[in-house]
Assembly symmetry: C2
């Protein structure tokens, strides 16, 4: 025991803290992905026994909640602008940047159900931007719902690339046969993919410019919102 005391006196770990745990979790998830993030793995990364984490985090769900809060903390604060549309747009693109820095954040946000103060704070400030832009509380409410997950800076990936990266590209003839069969069954999707990739079908679905899609949808929504606002839209009740 004396020995332990001695070495303890020399090398002392910086003690854990909720903050250190969350940061480590974020860093780990950035590297290995959210599905490979386990309490055990995280503990190992921190040079600590798994149960030690539970002194700082109630359970894994709360850990993920905290991780989301960390990401949200990276979003630039709202800046006051007379043009609500530009302001909201800028804010959401900033949120998008934060989310894109952490590939796991999308899934984490989608799966979360608890609304932490951080989450509420963000939503509140966003709602405030609409209010300041002249939206009624009523309209603001529905507009927030209409934004949905896009208020976190992402839209669902319709064609998430499930391509196995180290699988060899299939033979040309086989590829053509599959394309033919595909085109017979799903002609419109083929057509869309052809247009989107300018004819290069070698990675159907992987060729979507997600940033463009996000801004496209966002602008459709914001324009629609503005139209409703100027015409004094109100839910009849």
């Amino acid at each position: 025991m004396g020995v332990r005391t001695l070495t303890d006196g020399v090398v002392r770990r910086t003690p854990l803290s909720r903050d250190r745990v969350l940061r480590a979790a974020v860093d780990l998830a950035d590297v290995v992905g959210i599905e490979a993030l386990s309490m055990r793995r995280l503990a190992q990364e921190l040079g600590v026994v798994p149960m030690a984490l539970y002194k700082h985090v109630a359970n894994k769900d709360e850990l993920v909640d905290g991780m989301v809060d960390v990401v949200l903390g990276e979003i630039e604060p709202a800046d006051p602008t007379p043009d609500w549309q530009a302001a909201v747009r800028r804010r959401l693109l900033s949120a998008r940047e934060a989310v894109l820095r952490h590939p796991w954040a999308r899934k984490a946000i989608e799966s979360r159900t608890r609304r932490t103060p951080m989450v509420l704070g963000y939503m509140d400030s966003l709602a405030g931007m609409f209010r300041a832009g002249g939206f009624s509380a009523d309209l603001t409410h529905h507009v927030m719902h209409a934004l949905g997950n896009r208020m976190w800076g992402f839209s669902p990936e319709l064609f998430e690339e499930a391509r196995d990266p180290d699988a060899p590209p299939p033979a040309v003839e086989e590829q053509e046969a599959m394309a033919a069969e595909f085109g017979r069954r799903f002609p419109h999707i083929l057509e869309i993919a052809t247009v989107a990739t300018q004819g290069d079908l070698s990675g159907v679905g992987g060729g979507c410019d997600e940033q463009f899609e996000f801004e496209f949808a966002l602008d459709v929504l914001l324009d629609g919102f503005e139209r409703l606002r100027v015409q004094g839209w109100t839910s009849r009740r």
Copy 2:
């Protein structure tokens, strides 16, 4: 062993099949929720050993894919209408009904990454409705992305009710104190909730009419789409 043969001859289970497995999984998930659905539990429900399932389903992911396909099979097929907007609207509301019948479907669809033929078929037919309505392949592409998960008939729940149902309602004074604190930190959300619930704050967030929110957002999008269509919108490339 003779005994076994004898009883086997008398009571013979109807054999498993991929279809029976999927249906049982859907029914089970309807009752216990998707997170309580395990291969073991499902096998038990079917009166079979867990590994037996793997003769009909490659793994759990594929099982869930199949379950989603079952739900998608409940969506009413497209009906040809000159009015693309009404047709799409009707279709998505039908999809919504199917998804609402299976509370787990939302999460399952969100988490799925593989696009089964059934999924592709649905997306293809939806894209076809836009094409038939006069949308260019280009615009159809982006419009599908903009729909996002709403094409499956649901939008993200911003305020999923995390309320513990058997927790006793807090004392009135305590509730008021919390409301006061809440209002100080999140004034706009409080405001919105007040409007949405007509002053009854006894279940903030739980009072949203999801159906209304879905249709509201959908209409904003569809109207925006129509506007882009008539003005001949095209992505400059």
